[in-house]
C-alpha cells in the first residue's frame, strides 16, 4: 500500500511540475504579491509635504527646520500657528506629517537635558508615514550631531515622540503581510487540490486510476500529500521572506506554527478536494474554489473584525478555517501568544479539517458512479 501511494505522490509532483498552469499558480502569485509589497514598502519617498509648529521660535529651532527644508525628501515645509491648522491640513491630505517643537526646546538643549519633538503622521498612509518617520529620525540625529556634538557622548537627547493618528502603532504593514501569507497559502493549497482530480477527470486518466489497485483512500492520500508539502514549503519561504525583508518579528513557537499550519492546510485541502470531486472540468473546480475563498477571506476578520459582523455571519465564521488561522498567525508572529490561546483556535481548526476531509472523501466515493 505504501509503495502504491508513493508512486502516486511522485506522479502528482511530476504532473504539477510539468503542467505550466499549476507551476505558475504556485510560484507567480506569492512572488508577485510579496515583491510588490516589498517594493512599495522599501520604496524611497520624496516630495513629502509637511508642516511645522514652532513654539520655540529660537535659532536652534529654526536651524532644525532648515535641515528639513534642505533635505531631499521634503518638498514644502509650511510654518503653522496652532495645532488646529495641523489637523486641518492632515485631514485635507495637504501634508503627510507635522512637527511640533516645544517652547522649552532651545533651553533644554542648552542645559544638556533631554527634550521632545512631537511628530504627527497621517496614519491612513501607513507606508509613507513609516518611511517619513525614518527620515525624520535621521535628520534629527544629524542635526544633533552637527550642532551639539558633546551631547552625543551620552545618548541622543532629542526624543521623537511619534503619534500615528488614525492608526496608532503602525502594525498595519506587518498585519497585512501576515494576512497575505495566509491568503496566499490558502490559494496555493486550494488551487492545487481543486485542479488535481478535476484534471484527471478531464483528461480521462481518472478511470485508469480507479481501475488500478489503488483504493479510494490511497488515492485521496496521494492527492493530499503533494499539495500539502508544496504549500508548506511555500509558506515557510514566504514567512522567511517577510521576517528578513519586512523585519516582521516571529515571537511564538515554531513547533506550534507548523502544527497549526498543517492542520489549517489540511482543512483547506479538504475543501479543494471536495470541489475537485464534484466538478467535471478544471474550470468548474477553480470557480468552485474561488466561491469558497472570497467569502472565507471576507468573513475571516481580515477585512473587518468578526465582532462587527451581523450575528448571522458571526456564527458562520465558526466554520471558517481562515478566521482561526489568522488569529494563530498574528499571535505567533506578533504577539508571542501563549500556547493555551493558540490551542483555543487550533482545536476548532482540527474539527474543521476533519469535517472538510470527510466531506471530500464522502463526495469522492459517491461520485465514483
Amino acid at each position: 500500500m505504501f509503495k502504491r501511494i508513493l508512486a502516486l505522490i511522485r506522479k502528482e509532483f511530476l504532473s504539477i511540475w510539468k503542467d505550466p498552469r499549476s507551476r505558475i499558480l504556485i510560484v507567480a502569485p506569492p512572488l508577485m504579491q510579496l515583491l510588490i509589497f516589498a517594493h512599495a514598502a522599501t520604496m524611497e519617498i520624496r516630495n513629502i509635504d509637511m508642516a511645522v509648529l514652532d513654539r520655540s521660535q529660537t535659532v536652534q529651532s529654526r536651524d532644525l527646520i532648515s535641515e528639513f527644508q534642505h533635505s531631499k525628501w521634503f518638498r514644502n515645509v509650511t510654518l503653522v500657528e496652532n495645532e488646529k491648522q495641523i489637523e486641518q491640513m492632515i485631514r485635507a491630505k495637504k501634508i503627510q506629517l507635522a512637527l511640533s517643537i516645544n517652547t522649552d526646546f532651545a533651553n533644554k538643549l542648552k542645559r544638556n537635558q533631554p527634550t521632545n519633538i512631537q511628530v504627527i503622521l497621517d496614519g491612513r498612509q501607513t507606508n509613507t508615514a513609516s518611511i517619513a518617520n525614518g527620515y525624520i529620525a535621521s535628520i534629527v540625529a544629524q542635526y544633533e550631531a552637527e550642532h551639539f556634538p558633546q551631547r552625543l557622548k551620552s545618548a541622543p537627547q532629542i526624543n521623537l515622540e511619534i503619534r500615528n493618528w488614525f492608526n496608532p502603532n503602525l502594525i498595519f504593514l506587518w498585519y497585512t503581510v501576515i494576512s497575505l501569507i495566509t491568503i496566499l497559502a490558502t490559494t496555493i493549497a486550494l488551487v492545487l487540490t481543486s485542479l488535481s482530480i478535476a484534471r484527471e477527470r478531464e483528461m480521462g486518466t481518472f478511470d485508469q486510476l480507479i481501475v488500478s489497485p489503488l483504493s479510494a483512500f490511497e488515492i485521496l492520500v496521494g492527492k493530499t500529500v503533494p499539495p500539502l508539502i508544496i504549500s508548506l514549503v511555500m509558506t515557510t519561504l514566504m514567512s522567511l521572506f517577510v521576517i528578513i525583508f519586512f523585519k516582521v518579528p516571529f515571537t511564538g513557537s515554531i513547533l506550534l506554527f507548523y502544527i497549526s499550519m498543517v492542520t489549517y492546510l489540511l482543512s483547506i485541502l479538504g475543501v479543494g478536494l471536495f470541489f475537485s470531486s464534484i466538478c467535471k472540468t478544471q474550470q468548474q473546480a477553480i470557480l468552485g474554489a474561488f466561491t469558497f475563498q472570497m467569502p472565507a477571506i471576507l468573513l475571516s476578520g481580515y477585512i473587518s473584525p468578526v465582532e462587527d459582523m451581523p450575528m448571522f455571519f458571526q456564527h458562520l465564521t465558526l466554520i471558517n478555517p481562515v478566521r482561526f488561522f489568522l488569529v494563530i498567525m498574528k499571535g505567533l508572529f506578533l504577539k508571542n501568544m501563549p500556547a493555551e490561546y493558540i490551542f483555543q483556535n487550533l482545536i476548532p481548526l482540527v474539527f474543521i479539517a476533519i469535517l472538510s476531509l470527510s466531506a471530500a472523501s464522502w463526495m469522492f466515493k459517491r461520485n465514483l458512479d
Binding site: K3, R4, L6, A7, L8, R10, K11, L14, S15, K18, D19, M203, G204, T205, D207, Q208, L209, I210, V211, S212, P213, L214, S215, L368, D369
Partner: protein, 506 residues
Amino acid sequence: MISSIEIKNLTKKFTDNEPAIDNLTLDIEKGRITGLIGPDGAGKTTLLRLITGLLLPNEGEISTLGLNPTINQKLINAKIGYMPQKFGLYEDLSVIENLNLYAELKEIPQNEKEKIFNKVLTMTDLIRFKKRLAGALSGGMKQKLGLACTLLGTPKLLLLDEPSVGVDPISRRELIKMVRELATEGMTILWSTAYLDEAHSFDSCIVLNEGKIIYNGLPHDLSETGKGFEQKVIELMGGFNPQPSELAEKFELKEHNVEYVIEALDLTKKYGDFYAVKNNTFHIKKGEIFGLLGPNGAGKSTSFKMMCGLSTPSAGTAKIMEQDILKNPSKARSYLGYMAQKFSLYGDLSVMQNLRFFAGVYGLNIFKRKDKIDQIVEIFHFKKYLNHDAKELPLGYKQRLSLACAVMHNPSVLFLDEPTSGVDPVTRREFWHHIKGLAQKGVTVMVTTHFMDEAEFCDRISLFYQGEAIATGSPTELKNMISPTATMEDAFVGLIERYNEKGVLR
C-alpha cells in the same frame, strides 16, 4: 482529366529531422472520391493542411482549385470544406445552434440559411435531433454534424481527415453514402482513413508512407476484394511478419482454475426511463477473446465501465475471477488490465514516467520494476520515445503505451475498449497478434471494436443494440444467421435490421 489539386515536388519539414512530406508530386481528379491511407505519422494530416493553406510548404508548389494556398488562403477557404480529425463542435450548443454558428462564420446570407440547413440536416438525417445538444449525440452523429457544418458553404473541394474513426459500421455506411452523393454532384473529395475496406470502395486511392507516395491508383487494381486490398497495402507499407508475440511469451500468468473468468449477471444501467444497458448476462471462459460489437451508443462502453467498477449498475452485478465487482471492488480490479477508449495516460509525463508510475501503482517491487520496464520498452520499441511526453506520441504509439500499461502487472483479465480506433493497419495487426498471443497463454480478453475484420479474430461475439445483446455466438454462427456467404459487416447490419423489423431476433 481535370485536376482539383495539383502538387509538384512538395516538401514540408517541421524540424531538421526527416521531412513530413518528402518531394511529393500528385494530381487529384475533380468530382471523385480519393482515399488517403498510410500508417500513423505518414504525413496524411500534414498534406491536408498544406492543401488548405493552414501550413506553408518549405519547397514545391501546390495549386488548390487553381489557387496558390500560400497567397490566396482566404479565397481557398471560401471554396473548400475541411473537416479536421477533431472537428470543433460546441458540445454545449444544440445541433441547430452549431450549424448557425458555422453558417455565420462562413458568412452565409440569412435568407439562404434555412434552405441550406434543411438540405444538410435531411442529408445527414439529423433533422429529428435539431434541438439536441451536440455533446449528447453519439459518436457517429457527431461526425455527421461535423460534416454538415463543413458542407455549409457548398464547397467545391471536401477534405476529410479520418471522419470515420470510432464510428460504427452502420453510421459509416451512411457517411460514405452521403459523401458519394456529393461526389456525383461534382464535388471533389479527399478522404483520409484508417479503414481499408472504406478506402477500397473509393474511386481512387493514395498510399502515403514517410511523406512519400507508395501507391497512387485505383483500389481495384491492387486487389478485387477488400481483404486482398488490405493485405496488399500492408505489404506496400513494409509488411507485417508475425514473430511469436514477445509480449505473450514474457507474460507471467498467475495459474488459476476459474471456469468463468468474467461474468455479467443481469447487468442493467438505467438513466431515468432509459435503459443504457438492459439485463445483460454472459459468461466468458478462461482464455477466450470475447468481442462486444454494436453501433455507437448501444451500451458497450457503459457495460465495460460497470464491469470494471467505474460505474455502479442500477441492477445486477459482474464477477471477475469469481469476485463480485460490487462487493469486493479492489480484489476484483486487481485481476484486471484496462485500456480505455480515450487515451487515458498522463500526457504531461514522459513515456518512461508513465511506465514507472503504473509499475509503482501496481505494486511491482524496485528490482522487478526495472526489468519489466526494460522488457516493455524492448517489445513495443519505445526506445526513441522514452523521454517524449506521452501527449506528443503518434496515435499508434499512444495505444501501444496504453496496452503496455494495462498488461504491466500480468492481469488475468484484459478489458480493451476500442484499442485500435484510428490506428493504422500494420499497428492493428501487431496489436491483434499480441492479443491472440495473450489469449493463448490463458488471459481472458473482452474487447470492443468497430473493425469488422477484427471481430473475426474473436472467439465469441455479443452484438449489442439499444442496450441489449441481440445476438451472441462465434463469428461464423453470427454470419450464418444471415447467410452462408455473408461477411461480418453484412451480419452486423443484417442482424440489426432484422431486430428493428421484428422487435426480436429469433
